[in-house]
Each structure stands twice: as structure tokens, then as C-alpha cells.
């Protein structure tokens, strides 16, 4: 791992006012907003699944792991990556450094999210609190690692493709909690809407199962049907993302000082 790249990734987030404002919004404003509007049980569940789910984790990790790895000239960083790889730094080290920095950033911001939400709830004398026990903090740490790995892979694609994939994943993560029920008799009254609805649910379920690399340790270890498959799937997803990110970066050619 390269400590210079690791530190740069973290510090760069605080280097300009726009980044700081974005972080403040994600860390403080969103949990307070959710606490204020989640007055009934169903709204609370939907909004908490956004706060505690993949949506915000992906948004934070996407913004932390900047420097679109594939494009250098198109970004304002000029020939940053070309200069970087003229140094004795392997591309795998670069990927790992980005990954760990992104994971640390996500973990800290998500922890602040939970703390701010709970404080807002307590101020309003509400009983709904997000857990801060061993299971939830461990799950948070593991999920931070895996979402950072996913975003490192997405940043490895060409900019437009990566951004398109990111947007699709982000919106699909919002559909999941909103589509977690089946309406009785829907298909006979509005068949077109029903099949569209079912398609969206199917896509969301596939993404949930195979792409979003989240894990809930409490669910895994508290189950009466214990299985290590969720843990293996989690590790496999994360390693696959890092592997493909490394392969994609390895295929790029960087030349510093081109005319």
C-alpha cells in the first residue's frame, strides 16, 4: 500500500469548499432531514433504509475515490496519473490505497450519520434509534470496505460508462426498500403496470443479491440456519471488484511528458 496515495485520497476531500459542503450535507443534513420527516413507521423504515443502506455508502465512496482512473487528460488533474505511475508504485498498490482510503472515509461518514440521526431523535424524544452495538459497527466497517471496492471498480471504467453504471446502481438501491411488498390483485387490474413493477423488482433483487456487496453480521450469526455463504459471497464480491479494477488499470498505458 502507498501511504502517500492513501493520505492524498483522504485529504483531497477537504481541499476545496465544494467537497467540504458535500460531506457536511451527507454527514449532517441528511440524517437530520430524515429524523424530521420520518413521523410514521413506514416512512421511517423507507428513509432509514436509505440512511443505513447502500445508497449513501455508494455516494460517499464514489466521491472519496476521485481521480477517474481511466481518464487523465479529460480531468482537471492533467497528467496526474501519468506522473504518479512514473514513480516506483505498482498499480495494484494504487488500487489498494484508494480502496482503503475510500473505506475509511465511508466508515467515518456513516458513523457520523448514525450519531447525528440518533442525537436528532433523542432531541425530539423519539424512540427510533439506529443501533451502535458491536454487530452494527462491525457490519458498517465491512460494508465500508466492500462499497469502496465497488466504487474503485466503477472509477476504473471510462468516465461516461462509470458514471452511468454508478447512477443505475444508486437509483436501483433506492427501489429496493420501496418495492419490498407484493400488492394483492394488482396484476388483474393493471397488468402493464404490474409487469413493469415486477421487472423493476427483479432487477433490484438481482443487484441486491449479486452486486451490492453489503452484509449484516447480526443476521448471519443470529440465524437458526447458520451458513457461511453470505460471508463467502461478501468476500468474493469484494475481491472480484478489486481484481477487475487492477486488471483494468494494468491495461492502461501512461506516458508522462507526451507532446
Amino acid at each position: 500500500m502507498s501511504y502517500a496515495v492513501f493520505l492524498y485520497t483522504l485529504i483531497a476531500k477537504f481541499s476545496n469548499p465544494a467537497s467540504i459542503l458535500g460531506l457536511l450535507f451527507l454527514a449532517f443534513v441528511i440524517p437530520v432531514m430524515i429524523s424530521s420527516v420520518a413521523l410514521d413507521g413506514r416512512t421511517a423504515d423507507l428513509l432509514l433504509s436509505v440512511l443505513n443502506g447502500p445508497t449513501i455508502a455508494m455516494a460517499i465512496s464514489y466521491s472519496f475515490i476521485q481521480d477517474n482512473i481511466a481518464n487523465t487528460r479529460q480531468m482537471n488533474d492533467g497528467e496526474y496519473l501519468s506522473l504518479l505511475f512514473s514513480r516506483p508504485l505498482s498499480r495494484a498498490e494504487y488500487i489498494v490505497s484508494k480502496w482503503l482510503a475510500g473505506a475509511l472515509g465511508v466508515f467515518c461518514i456513516m458513523l457520523i450519520n448514525i450519531l447525528v440521526f440518533n442525537i436528532a431523535q433523542l432531541i425530539q424524544s423519539r424512540s427510533t434509534l439506529l443501533g451502535l452495538d458491536f454487530w452494527s459497527i462491525s457490519s458498517l466497517a465491512l460494508n465500508a470496505l466492500s462499497y469502496a471496492a465497488l466504487m474503485v471498480l466503477i472509477r476504473s471504467f471510462p468516465m461516461r460508462l462509470g458514471m452511468t453504471i454508478f447512477v443505475i446502481l444508486l437509483y436501483a438501491s433506492l427501489f429496493g426498500p420501496a418495492l419490498n411488498f407484493s400488492i394483492n390483485g394488482y396484476e388483474s387490474s393493471l397488468p402493464l403496470a404490474y409487469y413493469f413493477f415486477q421487472t423493476i423488482v427483479f432487477i433490484s433483487n438481482v443487484l441486491q443479491q449479486f452486486v451490492y456487496p453489503g452484509i449484516d453480521l447480526y443476521e448471519v450469526f443470529n440465524s437458526t440456519r447458520f451458513s457461511i455463504l453470505p460471508l463467502v459471497a461478501y468476500a468474493s464480491n469484494m475481491l472480484l471488484y478489486l481484481f477487475f479494477a487492477t486488471v483494468l488499470l494494468n491495461r492502461r498505458e501512461f506516458s508522462y511528458g507526451e507532446d
Partner: protein, 322 residues
């Protein structure tokens, strides 16, 4: 300028390649194995069907937990694989609830059996899964539509347990079992520490129950606690102020204004107080107003006024001294 990168800088580390392949094979292998040999449950929920609910269950103190689902419902299957296999959930449901699974068969058979349809109509089930925690008598405590994770389901069950005291208290108050009602409300308030939105009404009911028992000191303490913790000026706080003699009856009705719901609360709770003071005429007028203006015949106020009116008529007909 020449490219400056050695072969090692652009090669994929062996540890990354090896671990990726190992975990990938492990994942595929485990998934295939578990497809044919799913993990055995160390414990599971013993679901009952609606027709297996006995009269003894309905008269008992265990809450009912209804799982409205359908065989074609994917979120229901997800719930069965995730939340309902939690050790904590299984323990809670088996200990404190009567778990009932109500399966919709309309898609397969065209219609449901009478027990299933009756339950679906009673709880207005429109989507699956719908999870309902209810009193043995049928009063709904809480409801959730859609799949949810273990932590959320556990929270729902624990809250239903804590709130059950409140509902038991209301039933006991309706039936005139004031000692039990006072205990139930006091227990509810002790557990929820006034944070629950029902705490305001629990405070009022606690005061009423203690007054019925002639426990002036306990009633004053309940009133004091309620006024200390409840700062929202909306109802039922004005009723508490009236019980505390801070406002008159006319002032209370003025605060209620033309709002029917507030008026129902005023007439119902002050009517109970009038009946306790043996001012049967005023009590009867209040109860009759509530009975004729309530839309929901299953509401607490309607039921308690109906029963209290019956008690007043019995008291009037009983010879003095009996």
C-alpha cells in the same frame, strides 16, 4: 519521454488473483451445495393456521402475531429466509406470541376460506407480506407492510410487547377491572418512560383508574407525573388540567371547540368521572352524546361509554345499600 514502468508494476499480485479465484470457487460450490442441502434450522417458528386458533388462545394473555402472505409473494419468501430464522425472533414469537400464518389462496383457488378472508378483511390486508401484532380480542397493536430485516422485526415485536400493557389496561378499564387497569397503565408508563406517543392517554387512563379505586394519593401522583412529562398543549393535556382543577368544565369544552374527536374525548373521560362521583344524570348525557356521535363503534371511547352506561343503569336499578 519513454514509459517508465517495470513488468512488476503492471502485474496483478498473486495474492489477489489466488484469493479471488479461491473465494469464487468456494462461493459457487457452497451455493450449489446449499441448493440441494439447505442448512437445517436449530429452531423454528411453529406457525398456526387461522382455523387452529382455539377459544383458549383468544381468552389468554399471549398476543397474536399474524403473518399475511401468499405462495407467489417473493418478499414473503425473503422474509422467511431472513427475519424469521433469527434465534431472537423465534424465541420471542414462541414465548410471547401466538404466531399465525395466513396464506392467501385467491390467485390459486379463486377464493380464500372463511377464516382467512375474515382476518384479511378485519385487518384490511391489501399487500403481502403484512405483519400484524394484535391483542387476543383482535385489537390491532401494530402493523407492518413489506419485508423487513431481523433488527426491525425484533423491534416491532418488543414494542408490541411493551405496548400490550396499554391495550390490556384499556380492556380492563372497559370491563371495570380498575385495579388491573391501573397496574397495566403504570407498567406501560414505567417501561416506555413517557416517550411513547400513547403515554399521554395512558396518563389519563391511569388517573381515571386510580380515582375509581378511591386511591387519591396514587391518582394525584399519576396526574402530577402526566402533567410534568406532557408539554404538548394538544389533547388530552386539557383533560388532565381539568382533572387537576386548573380549568373548569366549560373551559375544557371551549378548548375542545367544534372538533368532534376532542369533544368525544372530553365527554367520554369526564363522563366516567361524573359516574364515579355518582352524578349519573350528567354522566348519562355525556355517554349518550359519545354513543350518538362516534363513527367507529369499535373505538375505545364508544365501548367504554357503552359499558359505563350499562353500569349506571344497573346502579340506578339496584336498591340503595345493596
Amino acid at each position: 519521454m519513454a514509459k517508465i514502468e517495470s513488468a512488476s508494476a503492471i502485474s496483478t499480485p498473486k495474492w489477489l488473483l489466488a484469493s479471488t479465484l479461491i473465494f469464487l470457487f468456494l462461493r459457487c460450490g457452497l451455493a450449489a451445495y446449499e441448493n440441494y442441502n439447505p442448512p437445517q434450522a436449530s429452531d423454528e417458528i411453529h406457525w398456526r393456521s387461522p382455523e387452529k386458533i382455539t377459544e383458549e388462545d383468544r381468552l389468554g394473555r399471549k398476543l397474536f402475531f399474524y403473518n399475511f402472505s401468499a405462495d407467489w409473494c417473493d418478499p414473503c419468501k425473503k422474509l422467511d429466509k431472513t427475519a424469521f430464522v433469527s434465534k431472537d425472533i423465534v424465541g420471542l414469537l414462541e414465548r410471547d406470541f401466538i404466531p399465525v400464518r395466513v396464506i392467501d389462496r385467491k390467485k390459486e383457488s379463486g377464493k380464500n376460506d372463511s377464516d382467512t378472508q375474515e382476518l384479511q378483511d378485519k385487518y384490511s390486508v391489501q399487500a403481502f407480506p403484512t405483519l400484524v401484532a394484535a391483542m387476543p380480542g383482535g385489537v390491532k397493536i401494530s402493523e407492518h407492510i413489506g419485508s423487513l430485516n431481523m433488527a426491525a422485526l425484533k423491534k416491532m415485536l418488543l414494542e408490541a410487547n411493551a405496548v400490550a400493557d396499554y391495550f390490556w389496561g384499556k380492556e380492563e378499564l372497559i370491563d371495570g377491572r380498575f385495579a388491573a387497569a391501573a397496574n397495566s397503565f403504570d407498567s406501560f408508563l414505567k417501561h416506555t418512560r413517557w416517550h411513547h406517543w400513547r403515554a399521554a392517554f395512558a396518563g389519563v387512563f391511569s388517573v381515571l383508574a386510580h380515582r375509581e379505586l378511591g386511591e387519591e394519593a396514587a391518582s394525584k401522583k399519576a396526574l402530577k407525573d402526566a402533567l410534568e412529562h406532557l408539554h404538548d398543549p394538544a389533547f388530552p393535556r386539557p383533560i388532565l388540567l381539568y382533572f387537576d382543577s386548573k380549568i373548569s368544565y366549560d373551559e375544557l369544552l371551549k378548548i375542545a371547540g367544534e372538533n368532534k374527536s376532542n369533544r368525544i374525548l372530553c365527554y367520554a373521560y369526564t363522563g366516567l368521572d361524573f359516574a364515579r362521583e355518582k352524578d349519573y344524570e350528567r354522566a348519562r348525557k355525556n355517554f349518550e352524546w359519545v354513543l350518538s356521535n362516534s363513527v367507529d363503534k369499535d373505538s375505545f371511547e364508544y365501548r367504554i361509554c357503552s359499558k359505563a352506561l350499562g353500569r349506571i343503569e344497573s346502579a340506578k336499578q339496584s336498591p340503595p345499600g345493596s
